[in-house]
Amino acid sequence: MFSPGDITAILLTLKLATVVTVLLILLGTPLAWWLARTRSWWKRPVAAVVALPLVLPPTVIGFYLLVAMGPDGPLGRVTETLGLGLLPFTFPGLVVASLIYSMPFVIQPLHTAFEAVGDPPLEAAATLGAGPVDRFFTVAVPLARPGFVTGAILGFAHTIGEFGVVLMIGGSIPGETRVVSVQIYDHVQAFDYARAHWLSGVLLVFAFVVLLALYAFQPTRARR
């Protein structure tokens, strides 16, 4: 049914989506928290900037990232100076690009969820001796769980599906950067519809299961 290439691509995709989702949650949470709590003038501009990558076509973002991370780009110079080499066409490069592109899908739900937490439970926690970090983890995060679930779902799904950025920055190297989306795209481009359908079908079923599992973390509504 599947070529070895398909299986490699599936495993690679899983790895990418998982790494990116985890990193997005880790990196996005502090930013979303800041957005939700600050009274700073910068709040809205920053929130708008976070959503901004969305409006550019993925390939174009991919192009700019490619140039920026390339040997003459500002990011590329930094990574080379640090001895990390160049990011494009490597798995870490894919991760960085996906982070940037999927960021808004995680930040936005977290931002909304953190705002919905409100002051009272945080104030109550403070009076019980919980410091800012403590109450963040023991009150804000559990209460914002729906936002984490939504953010994880959107971030995960979008990282699986996005391929414009990935194609540009990854260059479709088997086992390294050729993810399922690229593989399916290739099958379609090669008029190899049977394999495209198969791979799409498997991807959909698998994603369905993952999404369903994520939804299981969604708390159910209280009665009063």
């Binding site: 439970p121 104030e123 009076t127």
Partner: protein, 363 residues
């Protein structure tokens, strides 16, 4: 009870909210209960919040004993979670994502150690929370929520208790169960508490010190007995307040009564656990004092004291007046009809007998 500055709670705060300004300067005792009394919207909650450090906009000074919590002149501010306090919020403010047990543990686990330790099981039993421990707050009744809030604050081992109408949605029976416990806390733990309540009974019973707030300003502040004996306070307040007297238990009588030595005489009081020699506090409501020109016989009224009329002021109902009496050193306040006042020919300086129908022992 002490009012030495180094020992008490100093609260000097100025805070402007939408259409409201809180401006208070209070020196409160470092032990015992201070009642915060005042009409709806007078700033009681705001004052408690500011003391806790929850009102970022509050300027001024807060000091508990030798520990400075806040001094905005010097830009000094101890954040809420470093102030060892227990706060019972007016609306409970339980954590919706934790069970009742989770809520209680939250405070207990972070107990700051220097406050008195209270047994988890004892508090759970006292507040009747045993069967509820596994429940979510959304599955509790209003009064159950409030009880969890009280237990949670107590388990945090605070050095200052801030209680915002903790008993407001509890029935009398439950109140009567919890009140003695709060009294014991007050007496045994020697931590100060600020207690907001609309119930004069609760206040008279629990408080050592009384603060009257109105429109964000302090109308009166002082020791409970002295403040309750003032006749310049709003009549509605006086009527409901009554007076509080203190005396030593001299004898235990049969029928569960105690004989109490007070300035100017003796009182028979239903026992509430005191031993001979101990100090006991009682509240005498204005409505429970009647006046007679001679001692009565063959009556169920057990307490009659010779008194001198000091002054008379209006009560809130025009048919009534409030008569301040001196019973050989103990101040009493009687609410009688104007008709009786006239019929008995009373006037300041006159002698009479105060018949005291009921004396509530306050522990």
């Amino acid at each position: 009870m002490s009012t030495v500055p180094g020992d008490g709670l100093t609260v000097r705060l100025d805070l402007a909210l939408l259409g409201f300004r809180l401006d208070v300067d209070l020196l409160l005792p470092g032990a015992g209960v201070t009642a915060l009394f005042g009409p709806s919207g007078s700033g009681k909650t705001t004052c408690l919040r500011a003391i806790a450090g929850l009102e970022a906009g509050a300027a001024g000074q807060v000091r508990l004993g030798d520990r400075l919590w806040q001094d905005s002149a010097r830009g000094f501010f101890v954040p809420v979670h470093r102030r060892p306090l227990g706060y019972v919020f007016q609306d409970a403010a339980l954590f919706p994502h934790l069970s009742v047990r989770g809520n209680l543990d939250y405070g207990a686990r972070r107990a700051r150690g220097d406050g008195p330790a209270l047994a988890f099981d004892a508090i759970v039993a006292l507040l009747g929370l045993g069967p509820l421990l596994a429940r979510r707050p959304s599955h509790l009744s209003g009064g159950e929520r409030q009880r969890v809030g009280i237990a949670r604050a107590l388990l945090a081992r605070p050095r200052l208790l801030l209680l915002d109408e903790p008993l407001a949605s509890l029935d009398d029976a439950r109140k009567r169960e919890i009140l003695p416990y709060l009294e014991r806390l007050r007496d045994e733990l020697a931590i100060p508490a600020l207690y907001v309540s609309h119930s004069i009974d609760e206040v008279a019973r629990l408080a050592d010190h009384l603060v009257l707030l109105e429109h964000g300003a302090v109308v009166a502040s002082g020791p409970l007995r002295a403040t309750l004996a003032r006749t310049d306070l709003p009549p509605a307040f006086l009527e409901h307040a009554g007076v509080v007297v203190e005396g030593h238990v001299v004898r235990q009588l049969q029928d569960d009564l105690l004989l109490l030595d007070i300035a100017g005489g003796q009182l028979l009081v239903p026992a509430s656990g005191q031993a001979v020699g101990q100090v006991m506090r009682c509240r005498i409501a204005t409505g429970d004092v009647s006046l007679a020109m001679a001692p009565a016989r063959d009556t169920s009224i057990g307490n009659q004291l010779p008194v001198t009329v000091l002054q008379v002021v209006d009560a809130s109902h025009p048919a009534m007046c409030l008569v301040q009496l001196d019973a050989g050193g103990t101040r009493l306040l009687a609410q009688v009809t104007r008709r009786a006042w006239k019929r008995l020919g009373l006037a300041p300086g006159a002698s009479a007998w105060a018949q005291i129908k009921a004396v509530a022992g306050l522990g």
